[in-house]
Amino acid sequence: MSAVTQIAPTPVAPVVTRPTRRRRVRKAAWNLLGVIVFLVMVFPVYWMIATAFKPGHDILSYTPQWIPTHPTLSNFHDATHMPFFWDAAKNSLIVVSIVVALSLVLAFLAALALAKFRFYGRRPFIVLILGVQMVPLAALIIPLYIMMSRLNDVKGVNHVLGVDKLGGVIAMYLTFVLPFAVWTLRGFLLGVPKELEESAMVDGTTRFGAFVRILLPLVGPGLVATSIFAFIQAWNEFIIAYVFLHTPQKQTLMVWLASFTTLRGTDWGPLMAGATLCSLPVIVFFLLVQRRIAFGLTAGAVKG
């Protein structure tokens, strides 16, 4: 259930002026490769959805059922009636919305400082942001767990942060989302010529007013890209949530999905139905905001 976000532009075949035989063959080969890659990427998603609609005996048959011939909704019924489904859905929504909102605000302000102001320690800070992203998650889990568990004993903080608290998981996600978000937004902010703010300030806004009225709309695409990233990270994350959240009522959807695999085996139908349901919000969110990724919005600001 990984939503594939395309970052690099689709490779475009060179404009053919005089199609020779060799060129045509080469082009066909590239197209074939593209189709193969596409199939490899899409197949798991297809299989997940297909399985979600199959009755139990079709799922476990030794001859694979490529197309669900007897589609049923019973898996979805089972999944949504599993214990703690709604708790998990609620928790996931809380975690994701707070992570997206906080990361946008914090990252925008941090990126603003990095892109528009000179201050002591700016370069080390930029290097730090890059460096943090290189540390593997697995290496951090145990120290972070120990740190979080100590927070459980700190009065005043311990009903928000700590092990088995949504706040703890949110804080963890932010530490992973923020560096990327700050870095991305900084790039977008650097792309806006400084004369635009200066002009706004001469025209009568305060410095902050210039940020809000001129810069913010111009880095819209950056904010969208960042929010998509934060959303996907927070929604799909499994390991941290699995390690830090013990009580079933406090688990997120990804941890809840894992509960389909028990010592007695895996209940594939409802699991796939649950997984399909879990993918939906990511797809919906992406469709909602992707229209706003319009690059080249600053065109025409300055002589181009």
Binding site: M201, V202, G204, T206, L218, A299, G300, V302
Partner: protein, 407 residues
């Protein structure tokens, strides 16, 4: 409308070299003053200090009778046109024009009236709903101008607003801006590195170099009486011819020696520039404008012999490069290097010390390459400068505001 005063203004970036040094300049109410100089001379920094985009290290700037050193840009009531226009790309032309009014809480109906009026005057009426990206360079330039005009500010600040336009459009917009300024009578400070722009547009022109003001005067006086070698070489296109000469006194007469020819400096000239006498027995820098370099037929005064290196036909006249025997200026740091013609070309210079004189000659004169010519030199048209300081030898009538180039 208000006057702008720079009083001992200095700007230092990061503790080392100053960008602007002790600038004193007064821009009168309704006046169009052009700051001009080669890149890095501090002219843009000076302008940005007025706008409030750059802090003032020392001294004070006044707009009207207010010291504006510590006021944020929005409270200075000035409008600025940027080199790259800085139009808000996410706003339509209308919104761009109205932005300043909106920030100043001008009533909606009034905003609409003023924006539409300006758009009509600038010929942007049809484009109010377009985005900047959909406009041509000239139209963007107009919007940038309109955005400044519509605010009816105390002063306009313009930072090389024409440098992004192509040559034809630049000439056209140059006249247009000058006309608008004359109609509105708004105090304007205009920054450019193009001395033609400076000369054609400004009521007065302030020439800067290395953060120091060299001379402020009307374009004509700047041209006729440059205060030092730098101004002399910077103002005028093609630039003034500069070379070294020796001065000596002989029976009470002042003689000037250029290369191997010698001529007398007439008594009236010596009287007008009494300081010239102090240079007797010393070397001096001599300048002559290209249009004052004439073909010598029919001239019974001083002549310089030379050889034609190159003839550039401009249609209305021809620009002739003539190699003459004379000592070139040694202190190249005193002049605008970019404006200096190249030295004698390889293989041509058989003279030990040669200078290329640029002359504007009548287009009907038949000249050919390599031809030997005689050039008439009228001593009254010469400019004299001190070789060490670069300062012009002061005239007795009105000593120009002189400033040494060096230091």
């Amino acid at each position: 409308m208000a006057e702008i005063q720079f009083i001992h203004v200095s700007k230092v970036y990061g503790g080392d070299t100053p960008a602007v040094r002790d600038l004193n300049l007064e821009v009168n109410e309704g006046e169009f003053v052009v700051l001009v100089g080669p890149s890095g001379c501090g002219k843009t920094t000076a302008l940005r200090m007025v706008a409030g985009l750059e802090e003032i290290t020392e001294g004070e700037i006044r707009i009207g009778d207010r010291v504006i050193n510590d006021l944020p840009p929005r409270e200075r009531d000035i409008a600025m046109v940027f080199q790259n226009y800085a139009l808000y790309p996410h706003k339509s032309v209308y919104e761009n024009l109205a932005f300043g009014l909106r920030m100043r809480k001008v009533p909606k109906a009034e905003q609409k009236r003023r924006v539409e009026e300006i758009a009509r005057v600038l010929g942007l009426g049809e484009m109010l709903n377009r985005r900047p990206a959909q406009l041509s360079g000239g139209q963007r330039q107009r919007v940038a101008m309109g955005r400044a005009i519509v605010r009816e500010p105390k002063a306009f600040l313009m930072d090389e607003p024409l440098s992004n336009l192509d040559a034809k459009l630049r000439v056209q917009m140059r006249a247009e801006i000058a006309r608008i300024q004359q109609a509105l009578k708004v105090t304007t400070v205009y920054v450019t590195h193009d001395q033609v722009e400076a000369m054609t547009m400004g009521d007065r022109v302030a020439v800067m170099r290395d953060g120091k003001l060299q001379q402020v005067d009307t374009p004509q006086r700047l041209y006729d009486a440059p205060a030092n070698l730098f101004v002399a070489s910077f103002v005028g296109s093609p630039p003034m011819n500069l070379f070294e000469a020796g001065v000596r006194r002989d029976n009470g007469r002042l003689l000037c020696r250029v290369g191997d020819s010698q001529f007398e400096l007439p008594a009236d000239l010596a009287a007008a520039r009494p300081a010239l006498g102090e240079y007797a027995g010393r070397r001096i820098a001599v300048g002559i404008r290209p249009e004052d370099v004439r073909e010598a037929s029919g001239w019974d005064g001083a002549r310089l012999r030379g050889r034609i290196l190159l003839v550039e036909s401009l249609g209305s006249e021809q620009l002739v490069h003539i190699e003459v025997a004379a000592a070139p200026l040694e202190r190249s740091d005193l002049v605008d290097i970019a404006a200096q013609p190249p030295g004698p070309s390889l293989g041509v210079g058989e003279l030990e010390q040669a200078v290329t004189l640029l002359g504007r000659f009548d287009r009907h004169l038949l000249l050919s390459l390599g031809e030997a010519v005689e050039v008439a030199i009228d001593p009254r048209l010469l400019h004299f400068f001190d070789l060490e300081t670069g300062v012009a030898v002061p005239s007795a009538v009105d000593a120009p505001v002189a400033a040494g180039v060096a230091g």
